[in-house]
């Protein structure tokens, strides 16, 4: 979230797309309900079916799964064509005025530089045009936005094709409803109004998912909704600490705090190379050397010295050509290339895409360690219950009982980036241990096993700092301190990341978390629920990264002279009376939040109006490099019942296609129905934590598949019947929920049916059922490789065959 949960109450319009917030983030509705009641805010729910969220929305717009770019593209076009964008904001705070390289072009679904062999773009032409005579290579700009090669005009031209009629032919949304959505959300383009986009997995789990979010960014920048209360792009995280997990660098391409992990590319051959590659010329990211070196100091302690590049070479350099994301790992496992796996609280046999294949892949392992609260479908993948033949499986499986969140302490980072400490409520049951203790013990024993080794390749393990206290409470405390970071000369905790240094005198595990645990105490434990800001910032409740900032990009809330665009939406402003003249300060940024800006840089200063300080050019990117294009473009999902009517390019040209066994692509002649998966409020993720609870099992006892009355009639299915859903990958038996809330789509004159199925279920626990992910494919987003769970093809029929 660029904003935070409580801030939802400040919105004038919430566009909830790719999210069933009422179902999966009920707490969001605490604030949205308040916005609605107190401010008359409008809630728009865009979803393939009418959901619990839609029930509480002012407008419900049906949309076929996998057509988000078309839907939002149409809104972008509507905003531009009707001059509803926030002109001054767009000109000054985005790259709208920047002129693009002459080589850039877009033709029939493809951007310039495409290599069909590699399914990859050469992004050379996707660059700003510069004056060859300018030694600084400053981008050329046209603040009038009239130059046909400026970003704004290219954007306008790109999305011109997304007129309302075309969009509705793609998405299946009734035209009048679509226009109502456009009119309502575009109304937030005024300075005193804000609109928020709330999204979740319905946006992210597509083959062009990153471009869905890019489309949201463009729309929000055009409407001036970034950096203001009640605005922003808000990812409603599907798990209480998934924000924390990405902050900690759990993704395969990242170190901690979104520092890119080095690859085997020659550019990363040493620390200087890494710094050169990763440090831009302008902006806050120029501090990258401080962050990476402080992180290395936290990891390798005294062993990290300037002479040895702070142990930079200990970092693994992954093969840039190989894919280490979820799908990539399981494909490698299926091919027998992975020998062992540690699975912490994950249940891929239920939650992974193409679950049949992922269960099969586990059979190729030599060993597997499952760490979980319960015996899950994954930890028992080898059993007869799972449909496997134990006599043929050689995998040695270890099960380590983990304790639940109430049996341990620690922090979780919520969607709004608030790092909140949770105290232990009860002691763990039996031999169960916290994940941290398990990891600590593992690290300790591995180090012991390698002790005394002189093999250079064991050095990273031996030099790794692992001198934590044994006792859980102290262990956690020390890990938190290490994440925050120390001034190594004074051994004092660092107060903020601005104090990090690149000379090896500071350590910091996760630079964005710096400041959460200072000499003043553990700020994640702060619980002052008094709001001193009037807009619900609660600055003394927990600690939000970065530097306790609650609304990021908040410099955008003020105009070029530093005054709020409007009184209603003010966050920070320039106060010329506050600066310290002795230090040569002309004033100071003050207000209701920690400024997302250098606090003493005046609006009149050279870079005083570049609000996006993390971007190399300081402005919001309407045009930005992504694997599959600088602008979002609609492509059909990997499996789609219809042809792309916008271009001859059917599928995202940069998405990786896994041509491997057990991952057949379904065709519409055999599988004419669109399938999607989702959750219900009564269960959580792959279900181990809720399907084992009788009270929740009582509420949602079986896996069900929702379908329209029209489809049910066509297939002779009655409400409550047992039906089979079949895709090219597998079959699932479920109870039919025939409902008015799902309607067939009219896609360019063709009636297209969609069904939705819950993915929580498996054969273990109190509430049991078939895992819906037996149906989903191994295909991922072009940029992140997030699996396309949300749009695939299937057929449905009555009974079990």
């Amino acid at each position: 979230m660029t904003n935070h949960w409580v801030d939802l109450r400040n919105t004038d319009c919430a566009l909830i797309i790719g999210s069933n917030a009422a179902e999966n983030h009920p707490m969001a509705f605490k604030w949205l309900t308040e916005a609605r009641e107190k401010r008359g805010a409008k809630i728009i729910s865009v979803d393939p079916r009418f959901t619990r969220t839609s029930a509480r929305a002012d407008i419900y717009a049906p949309m076929r799964s996998g057509t988000d770019v078309a839907f939002i593209g149409g809104l972008i076009n509507y905003v531009i064509q009707n001059n509803l964008y926030f002109h001054d904001y767009v000109v000054n705070y985005t790259n709208a005025a920047y002129i693009i390289d002459d080589g850039y072009e877009f033709k029939d679904g493809l951007f310039s530089g495409y290599d069909p062999e590699q399914r990859k773009y050469d992004q050379k032409t996707w660059a700003y045009k510069t004056d060859p005579a300018d030694p600084d290579k400053k981008p050329l700009k046209d603040p009038t936005l009239q130059n046909p090669r400026c970003v704004f005009q290219l954007l306008k031209k790109h999305f011109e094709r997304y007129d309302v009629d075309t969009v509705c032919k793609i998405t299946g949304t009734p035209k009048d409803v679509y226009l109502k959505v456009a009119e309502t959300f575009a109304a937030t383009g005024k300075p005193d109004k804000s609109g928020t986009i709330c999204y979740a997995m319905g946006t992210c789990q597509h083959s062009n998912a990153s471009q869905n979010i890019r489309a949201y960014s463009i729309l929000q920048l055009l409407l001036g909704n970034m950096g203001i209360p009640g605005g922003g792009i808000n990812a409603l995280r599907g798990e209480s600490n998934v924000q924390g997990s990405t902050d900690m660098g759990l993704l395969s391409h990242l170190l901690t705090a979104y520092l890119n992990a080095p690859t085997n590319d020659a550019a990363y051959k040493d620390l200087a190379g890494y710094i050169k590659k990763e440090t831009p010329k302008w902006g806050f990211k120029t501090n990258t050397p401080k962050w990476i070196i402080s992180m290395l100091k936290a990891w390798y302690g005294d062993a990290a010295t300037k002479e040895n590049d702070y142990c930079y070479q200990y970092l693994p350099k992954r093969d840039a050509k190989r894919n280490f994301t979820h799908i990539g790992l399981f494909e490698a496992m299926y091919e027998g290339k992975i020998k062992g796996v540690l699975i912490f609280g994950a249940n891929p046999v239920v939650g992974g895409p193409n679950a049949n294949k992922e269960a099969k892949a586990l059979e190729n392992l030599d060993w597997m360690v499952a760490v979980d609260l319960w015996e899950t479908e994954t930890s028992t993948f080898w059993s007869r219950e799972a449909g496997a033949d134990p006599s043929k499986i050689k995998t040695e499986v270890f099960f380590l009982p983990a304790c639940s969140s109430y049996e341990k302490q620690g922090t979780v980072s919520n969607s709004g980036r608030w790092i909140q400490f949770r105290w232990k409520a009860v002691d763990p049951l039996g031999e169960s241990r916290s994940d941290l203790e398990i990891l600590y013990e593992l690290g300790k024993r591995i180090k012991e096993a390698y002790a005394g080794s002189t093999d250079p390749k064991d050095k990273p393990l031996l030099d790794m700092t692992w001198d934590y206290p044994e006792e859980e409470e102290k262990l956690l405390d020390e890990v938190q301190r290490e994440i925050n970071g120390y001034d190594l000369t004074t051994k004092k905790l660092l107060p903020k990341f601005a104090d990090l240094k690149d000379d090896g005198t500071t350590s910091c595990g996760v630079w964005i978390y710096c400041g959460m645990y200072t000499e003043e105490g553990n700020k994640t434990q702060k619980r002052d629920n008094k709001d001193t800001t009037g807009i619900g910032q609660y600055p003394n409740w927990a600690f939000a990264w970065p530097v306790n900032r609650r609304i990021i990009y908040n410099r955008c809330s003020a105009d070029l002279s530093g005054n709020p665009w409007s009184e209603a939406k003010k966050v920070i402003w320039w106060d010329p009376t506050k600066g310290d003249p002795a230090k040569g300060e002309k004033g100071k940024w003050v207000g209701l939040d920690v400024p997302d800006f250098i606090a003493t840089v005046a609006p009149s200063d050279p870079d005083g109006s570049k609000p996006f300080i993390m971007h190399p050019d300081g402005v919001g990117g309407l045009f930005a490099k992504m694997a599959d294009g600088p602008f979002p473009e609609h492509y059909e999902p990997w499996e789609s019942p219809v042809q792309n009517i916008l271009s001859s390019i059917q599928f995202d040209p940069a998405a990786k296609i896994w041509q491997s066994p057990m991952n057949e692509q379904g065709t519409p002649d055999k599988y004419p129905i669109i399938g999607t998966t989702y959750r219900v409020v009564e269960h959580w993720q792959a279900g181990a934590m809720t399907r084992n609870l009788p009270w929740l099992a009582e509420l949602m006892p079986n896996v069900f598949v929702e379908m329209s009355e029209e489809l049910a009639k066509e297939k002779g299915i009655q409400n409550g019947d047992i039906v089979t859903v079949e895709s090219a990958r597998g079959k699932v038996t479920a109870v039919a929920c025939v409902t008015k809330r799902f309607k067939p789509f009219n896609i360019n004159g063709k009636i297209v049916h969609e069904i939705g199925i819950l993915w929580h279920y498996g054969y273990k626990g109190v509430a049991v059922g078939d895992p819906a992910n037996r149906l989903t494919p191994h295909i991922g987003d072009a940029n992140s490789n997030t699996p396309e769970y949300k749009a695939w093809l299937c057929d449905v029929y009555k009974g079990v065959k």
């Binding site: 707490m27 509705f29 929740l696 409550g720 109870v735 008015k740």
Partner: protein, 263 residues
């Protein structure tokens, strides 16, 4: 002044947190259910279910509606259950219609008298059970478990008068968009401590349009119970009368034939 609930159906998202909180606080076991084509898997009250959410979907003029209704004891101001209870086990405490399970005989009269058919038989304790407005929590200054669990503010707890004022204000605000909006429970069934803000007619929420104590129960309560036993008294009195009159009249009469035979 007495306590009450306000259920604002226009704010409810049907998450059923209240249902689980109720079971948790009251330590009520889960019952076997099955998904039968509706989200309303817990379809009705039971001896182990004091509250549930009704799910009703409609399509009107192409507009879809999905109404979520939290159902629980309405805590009537003039409760029929209390009137029919022979053990005087039911009383009103600060707006809550509560039962003294020590006094309750398990006769189940209250169940059929209730105009909302709320109390249900719990076979384990052999009593009719229902929501107590978490009287034991309220007595300690806490909110009822369901209200505590509600995330959206659809459930509020407080003085009934104040809640009624809030409800009316809310309905006024809703009227423009929802002409059928109304407060339910102000006077329905003689007034209830549980008030609803409805955006549509009560029947669409699964609530009775005109809840009242049935004529059969009234007849039973008003006529059969008070007057019936007099019939027994009458026959007993007749028999006593006969006992004496037969003997008095016989004084001057010849003894009965069989008596002479007997003698």
């Amino acid at each position: 002044m007495a306590k009450g609930y306000l259920v604002d159906t226009t704010k409810c998202i049907g998450c059923r947190g209240c249902v689980v909180a109720c079971k948790n606080w009251n330590q009520l076991p889960a019952e076997p259910t099955g998904f039968k084509g509706t989200y309303q898997t817990v379809a009705d009250f039971s001896g182990n279910t004091f509250t549930y959410i009704g799910f009703n979907e409609y399509e009107e003029n192409g507009q879809l509606k999905w109404y979520f209704t939290k159902r629980q004891c309405m805590h009537c101001l003039d409760p029929a259950c209390m009137k029919v209870c022979p053990q005087k086990a039911i009383s009103i405490v600060d707006g809550a219609v509560v039962r003294d399970y020590g006094k309750c005989a398990g006769c189940q009269y209250c169940a059929s008298a209730c105009p909302f058919h709320v109390p249900r038989y719990n076979t384990k304790i052999n009593k009719e059970t229902k929501c107590s407005m978490c009287a034991e929590r309220v007595a300690e200054g806490m909110l009822p478990a369901c209200v505590k669990a509600c995330v959206t503010g659809a459930l509020q707890f407080g003085e009934r008068d104040e809640l009624l004022a809030i409800a009316k204000e809310r309905v006024n605000a809703l009227k423009a968009e929802y002409p059928n909006a109304r407060v339910y429970g102000e006077n329905d069934a003689g007034g209830t401590s549980v008030l609803y803000v409805l955006a549509d007619v009560p029947s669409k929420y699964g609530l009775p349009e005109n809840p009242q104590v049935s004529a059969l129960t009234t007849a039973w309560q008003k006529y059969v119970k008070p007057y019936g036993p007099w019939l027994i008294a009458l026959t007993a009195a007749g028999s006593i009368l006969s006992f004496f009159s037969t003997r008095l009249l016989k004084v001057g009469q010849r003894a009965h034939e069989e008596e002479s035979l007997h003698g």
